[in-house]
């Protein structure tokens, strides 16, 4: 059974800090890993990673995948209060038509 484990479950930081969120996975015939941000409503897409070692970047957010060690990290630099959200990681296998989500990491950024 495909499985996604995110850590930490929650964390609180101050504005300006850098945070690293972790996602480890077990999936049959891995195809892709996706990161979503959820702020009290529907999740919104951040990144999709398919190749190991290639960093995806968008502003202060970046993510990288390690297919050998079966994990991904999401980095947020110079955090702002608007980064407060639940960050969800999901994986898909080659033969599946669905995403399996982790429980999420709750991030709270204090001003």
């Amino acid at each position: 059974e495909d499985k996604v484990v995110q850590s930490p479950l929650s964390l609180v930081v101050h504005e300006g800090d850098t945070v690293t969120l972790n996602c480890s996975y077990e999936v049959t015939n891995f195809r892709s890993l996706l990161w979503y941000k959820q702020e009290k409503k529907a999740p919104t897409f951040l990144f999709m990673l398919t190749s190991s070692g290639i960093e995806k970047k968008s502003g202060r957010l970046s993510s990288i995948l390690d297919k050998k060690e079966l994990f991904s990290i999401l980095n947020i630099t110079a955090t702002q209060t608007g980064d407060s959200a639940v960050y969800l990681c999901a994986v898909a296998g080659v033969y599946g038509n669905k995403l399996v989500f982790g429980a999420g990491t709750i991030l709270r950024v204090k001003s």
């Binding site: 479950l9 892709s32 529907a42 038509n97 995403l99 999420g104």
Partner: protein
């Protein structure tokens, strides 16, 4: 462009009642999904569909039914509501399977 539209946004049901959560998308996506989200539990897949007339079970299908008569619509039916079905339900769609999902705004259901 409406994207994925879910109704209702909120609903309170009594134990044993039935209801249908509606979901429609206007992006001509073949794949549609229903997830439920409980506090601290992430998103659990209930049912999904890869095209009109085709549906399949996800991780937590018990107590739910779906149909997919058109590409646009994917309603989720609760036949005998139970307190364990209190949750937030998200409908989503994608052009290709297990790809970037577009989510609806969610439906908060409480069963008392």
């Amino acid at each position: 462009n409406a994207g994925v539209t879910q109704t209702p946004k909120f609903r309170i049901l009594k134990i044993g009642q039935s209801m249908t959560l509606q979901c429609t998308q206007d992006m001509n996506h073949n794949y549609m999904y229903w997830y439920r989200q409980d506090p601290g539990m992430g998103l659990k897949l209930i049912y999904y569909s890869v095209g009109a007339g085709i549906t399949d079970k996800g991780e937590v299908p018990n107590g739910y039914n779906v149909s997919r008569s058109t590409t646009e619509d994917f309603p989720l039916r609760l036949e005998l509501a139970a307190p364990s079905q209190t949750s937030v339900y998200f409908c989503a769609s994608s052009y290709a399977g297990a790809n970037v999902l577009t989510f609806g705004a969610g439906s908060r259901l409480t069963v008392l």
